[in-house]
């Protein structure tokens, strides 16, 4: 059982605070590190992987420090986000080299290549690989020493749906085997499909932590804002405000539209067309005004 402890970790670069006082514990199973781009996920993963010293706080793996401790890599497998990986080698040569650096041999390399189903292309130069193939060879190089902790930085970036599914199956399997698997992503659906447990980072802060369903509920139950244009805005407004699914309506004269804040997402989306039909009002525009991931995240931070 491997547990990664992040204890009051902050990291700043000059005046910029990239990670702000984060405390979390990552245990066995698959954990998703979710956050918009630029939230500090990579900085945090770099600190988890021992490539960056925390400005304050500590990162430990089963009690042992990760920073400046080469021996810790006997237990950690890392799949970096960056593409570069000795393109002049073949896939097999690359994974064998990674095995040798762990004091292992060709057998371990071959097993890792089989795990990621890359044996068919193992003798081709890495420079000829597609993004998905690179990702799988990177996985093989990270798995070659059978690590108990696997860190993956944006592993699904640029992968096609089939490759994505394959990698998800693989990571799920790793989690089921009792390994501690942590991957970062800025895409909600990716995390939803793979991780039961998630940690949300927004603007360098730890915004939410726990079971995915609970956080998902928080996300869907949050007040939703809509911009609605209709043939009779005021009549529509008065009809909608009578229902408890609506918390507030503003008549935006400049825009010639209604700004509606709904509290019960499911109920409101059913109610709106029904009310319009009952009152003979034509809906011209219905657009959610805060569906960006950033606004979802900032809502979570406030919650």
């Amino acid at each position: 059982m491997t547990t990664l402890n992040i204890d009051h970790v902050s990291r700043w670069f000059g005046n910029v605070v990239a990670v702000n006082d984060i405390t979390m514990t990552i245990g066995p199973g698959v954990t998703g590190l979710l956050g918009p781009n630029g939230a500090g996920k990579s900085t945090l993963i770099n600190m988890m992987g021992g490539f960056l010293a925390p400005s304050t706080g500590s990162v430990t793996l089963d009690g042992k420090p990760v920073w400046r401790n080469e021996q810790i890599y006997r237990h950690i497998g890392i799949v970096p986000e960056r593409e570069a990986m000795y393109d002049f080698l073949t896939g097999r040569e690359f994974v064998v080299a990674n095995a040798e650096l762990h004091g292992l041999g060709k057998k371990a390399a071959q097993k890792a290549l089989a795990t990621v189903e890359m044996e068919y292309a193992q003798d081709r130069k890495i420079s000829t690989y597609s993004k998905g193939m690179r990702q799988r060879v990177k996985m093989a190089s990270a798995l070659v020493h059978d690590p108990s902790l696997l860190l993956l930085d944006e592993p699904f970036n640029g992968m096609d749906p089939r490759q994505r599914m394959q990698l998800m199956d693989l990571l799920r399997r790793m989690g089921d085997e009792g390994r501690t698997v942590l991957f970062s992503s800025h895409i909600l659906e990716e995390v939803e499909q793979l991780a039961a447990h998630i940690e949300v980072i927004v603007a360098g802060r730890h915004a939410a932590s726990g079971d995915f369903r609970r956080i998902r509920r928080l996300m869907t139950d949050r007040p939703h804002r809509y911009l609605v244009r209709s043939s009779d805005d005021r009549a529509l407004a008065s009809a909608l405000i009578a229902d408890p699914s609506t918390a507030g309506i503003e008549v935006d004269l400049a825009e010639g539209a209604l700004r509606i804040q709904a509290v019960d997402f499911g109920r409101f989306t059913a109610l709106l067309p029904q009310v319009a039909r009952d009152h003979g009002i034509r809906l011209l525009t219905v657009s959610p005004s805060d569906e960006s991931l950033e606004s979802v995240f900032s809502y979570l931070v406030a919650a």
Binding site: Y86, L89, A97, L101, H102
Partner: protein, 239 residues
């Protein structure tokens, strides 16, 4: 202290097609110049010393050193692939030491060997000139490789800084400002060469013992510091 896998990866990166061409160009030029000089002016000890001192040791050896020394680690740090070495239970000084050995070997092969060949062509090792400059190139290879390997770990512009040092400091300042010569790998190597050749054809502004101490200190210091830098290397591409 030496890791054969790190060495293999470094050799393959260094001797990749494009870099090997660059590494091979100067030695070929040196040998062509030597052949032309020999053809047109015959075997002349002074001319041999001028060509080997002026071109081989002053220009070719440091440039080869820059390419091999910075190339042994710089590109890996730049593109981030060094992460595959750093995420292993391999001591960082071992990585640096191994890369240093590779950089030294490559610099020696591409600078000392052609220096010897050129010397033999120029005057058939008369007055031990070919041998003296070959020894100088071997000695300089060690110090240059260590210096430029360090540069490769501390700056992304290692090649530029390396060339500035090699060409501006060693070649230009060295010939204009006497004091600069004391702090010049080339002069230290020449001190060793002077000991081999004897006579006045190969001379140095630095005494042999000073030269040997400085060579050892620079090589050891640069290697140690590069190991320390690698221990706390921040990988590029962070937010």
């Amino acid at each position: 202290m030496y890791d054969p896998t790190v060495a293999r990866l470094t050799y393959r990166a260094l001797l990749g097609r494009r870099r090997a061409l660059i590494l091979g160009a100067l030695p070929i030029l040196l040998i062509m110049i030597s052949a032309a000089v020999r053809t047109f002016s015959g075997a002349d000890d002074q001319v041999a010393a001028d060509v080997l001192g002026g071109f081989a040791l002053a220009t070719m050896v440091p440039i080869i050193g820059v390419i091999a020394g910075t190339g042994a680690i710089g590109p890996e740090i730049d593109d981030g692939s060094v992460v595959y070495l750093l995420s292993k239970p391999v001591k960082r000084p071992t990585i640096i030491f191994t890369k240093l050995i590779v950089a030294i070997a490559v610099t020696m092969v591409f600078s000392a060997v052609p220096t010897l060949v050129a010397g033999l062509i120029l005057n058939g090792n008369g007055q031990q000139i070919a041998l003296a400059y070959t020894v100088a190139a071997l000695v300089a290879s060690i110090a240059y490789a260590a210096l430029f390997l360090l540069l490769g770990t501390v700056t992304r512009h290692a090649v530029i800084f390396g060339l500035v040092y090699a060409l501006v400091w060693e070649a230009l300042f060295g010939s204009l400002v006497p004091g600069a010569r004391t702090l010049s790998v080339q002069q230290w190597a020449l001190a060793v060469a002077h000991k081999v050749a004897g006579g006045d054809l190969v001379t140095s502004d630095v005494g042999l013992s000073t030269a040997v101490i400085l060579l050892a200190a620079v090589t050891a210091g640069a290697t140690w510091y590069a190991g320390q830098k690698l221990r706390t290397l921040k990988l590029a591409g962070e937010e």
